[in-house]
Symmetry: none
Subunit: 408 residues, 2 copies
């Protein structure tokens, strides 16, 4: 029997409230450069410490598989209980979500770069000298003004940072994924895209559309310098993901500030709660929305940002800021509360990493691991052990007493 | 290569003696209500402590999968090395075993409840007011007197506690599983059972038999109050389970007091050793049977019972009673000794739970985790880590030096 089917079969509807608080990129490493302390260890976190001492289970989570560093997409899909290897989201979709585009079922999205072609049509710079964001915005506006649709398909173009932009195709019968319109190195022409599956009619239609899009768009850019062309990658449709509410029998709300995380939540059917701009405001809003939902995904970005910047003190500060806001959430403690990251972003790595992130779970039946604080080293000793992120939501459901007994 | 096939291929016949001692529902939680102590931590267990200090490996086991709370069936199948997701035992079978019925291959068993129907045939009480056990026994005797067989199929009816009973169908060409003859809530009529697989001839025959059984049995109960009807669930045949002795090359004996656990042992082909009524007698009998078997499953019920009752002191006492008897077993220490539970039954949960149960393994090559005692918190730090119960027996075999090297 498939495990997901078993979980579904055992799921009971209860009145429990669950909150998943994601400190993006939470996990870190103790290194000699940082006195063998992680930011979590170095930070002063009295509220978190009190929560731990009130009785929590701890552990560490493998975002995808040993050694795999996830992007935000797989990182969050795992937290939402979807196996990131089974549910893959194209880079175009992630990028579109990240730029705040509202994707609809059936949309195909592509990640695009402005690039430079020589007179023979050979790519001489895959990033067009990393043009300024303002230039990118001007070029995207120019393209969008000229190309609103191709046949029965609407075309949406949105500028990103520097040379990056996103193209969304919205029309009947479209499917991805396609091969990339990107030689992946300089000195070669832009390859024609092909269906990944030659027998898929939707992919064939989509490949023809991309060719038509190039035919229409390249003349618009012909006189631009250096951005006289563009490459397209990760051309794929929004994946068919079972809706969160149906899968877990929980009405979910997303309290996120950054578009990417709102988008990822939306991908699984969470309701975006718009408005709050700080973690304190997010927690205040959680209190207001408490009766309206069963599951709250609350996303905090700044731990990841500091990790990406390799800034130990900033990550420590981000944790202390978070800790200062925590009592707001605890005014109405959910039945099951989890604090964790979507992955580690160690200061020493200056980027996402594969190191299992620490996780803390508090409920009336979480038991206590008798740890004094929530840290990476402490979490190694916890009763949750090391497990794959995709099981977290199942443990939350179990703690919410949402599962019937399996077998007699 | 399938792992089970590899284990089989590597298995050597040795003279080792292995003992699996199951303290039912052993695992527990530290909660503020109990001074942050588990019963294992609070109990005085000098004999167990001495065993730990003599050199043991510890860890924790996930009975089925993260968050899944197992019944005794899946819990024990896991301990016996059978993946509980692959080998599912119907509730009817478990219940029949629990009532001490000897099931034969091909038998289909159903769990039944006396219930109350109104004049329109709507279920108004799924448990007929939880009638007394004596009434249940009288009604079962009445049914059994009227219905001995249907066509070529023998019908066996056995009363359980309160409103519960079991029906076993013994005849040619029967198969399960069927859907339940139970609306699962009041206010609906009893649904007609259907084959789970519409193309399965044995299930079709079985569904027709259940319909005939209802036709014959309901008139017998028509004038009873409040138990004028019954519901049937978990209608399934005994699963085809590879025999323990063939699978592991170990002659197994079961020393259990309660019928359910004898039944589960019998399901995998263990020899039931009848007679002992206390854990001390079970250990005494182990000493006597030592030359006759290679593998001893010894089951101790009272830890689970106390957990179900939410009685911390009773669970502590059950552990101390167990500890007092332990020296009897240790008079003839098996080559591999394991103490564990089939699942946790935390006092705070007052029922089975999903929390990984602690496990202790002692052998000449178990090594020592240098822990002072056997507790949940200590087991978190052990060299066995957290693993699925189904691997326990493989670790026992390895410790018994029963596996050849894999590859050169």
């Amino acid at each position: 029997m498939k495990l997901d089917a078993l979980y579904s079969e055992l799921t009971l509807k209860t009145k429990a409230k669950l909150a998943l608080v994601v400190l993006d990129g939470l996990g870190d490493l103790a290194t000699p450069e940082q006195n063998n302390m992680t930011p979590l260890e170095a930070a002063t976190t009295p509220n978190l410490d009190a929560l731990v001492r009130s009785g929590c289970a701890q552990g560490r989570m493998i975002p995808v598989a040993p050694g795999i560093t996830p992007g935000s997409g797989p990182g969050h899909l795992g937290l939402f209980g979807y196996d990131p290897l089974e549910f893959q989201v194209g880079r175009g979709v992630i990028e579109a979500l990240g730029l705040g585009l509202e994707l609809r079922p059936g949309d195909v999205a592509a990640r695009a770069n402005f690039a430079t072609l020589d007179a023979r049509g050979v790519v001489t710079d895959r990033r067009a000298g990393r043009i300024a964001t303002e230039i990118c915005e001007r070029l995207c506006a120019k393209l969008a003004a000229q190309i609103k649709s191709i046949g029965d398909t609407e075309v949406l173009i949105k500028a990103g940072k520097e040379h990056r932009f996103v193209v969304v195709f919205r029309g009947p019968g479209l499917e991805g994924p396609l091969t990339d319109a990107d030689p992946n190195r300089e000195g070669f022409p832009i390859p024609t895209v092909r269906p990944r599956d030659e027998n898929n009619a939707g992919q064939k239609k989509m490949a023809a559309l991309v060719a038509d899009f190039y035919k229409a768009a390249l003349p618009v850019l012909a006189k631009e310098k250096p951005a006289n062309a563009f490459l397209m990658r990760g051309i794929a449709h929004q994946p068919h993901i079972p809706l969160f509410e149906e899968r877990y029998r929980l009405r979910p709300a997303a309290l996120a500030v950054y578009p990417m995380y709102k988008g990822l939540a939306q991908l699984v059917g969470m309701k975006k709660v718009e408005g709050p701009a700080t973690i304190a405001e997010q927690f205040e809003r959680y209190l207001v929305e408490y009766p309206n939902f069963d599951f709250f995904f609350i996303h905090y970005k700044y731990t990841d940002k500091a990790g990406e910047d390799g800034n130990f003190l900033a990550k420590m500060k981000a944790l202390e800021d978070f800790d200062a806001a925590l009592p707001i959430l605890l005014r109405k403690k959910p039945d099951v509360l989890v604090l964790t990251g979507d992955h580690s972003t160690p200061v020493a790595v200056q980027g996402h990493s594969w190191h299992p992130q620490p996780v803390l779970l508090h409920s009336a039946v979480s038991g206590s691991d008798k740890l004094e604080r929530f840290t990476e080293t402490g979490a190694n000793l916890g009763s949750l052990g090391i497990f794959e992120s995709k099981y977290l939501i199942r443990l939350m459901q179990a703690n919410a007493r949402m599962f019937d007994k399996f077998g007699a």
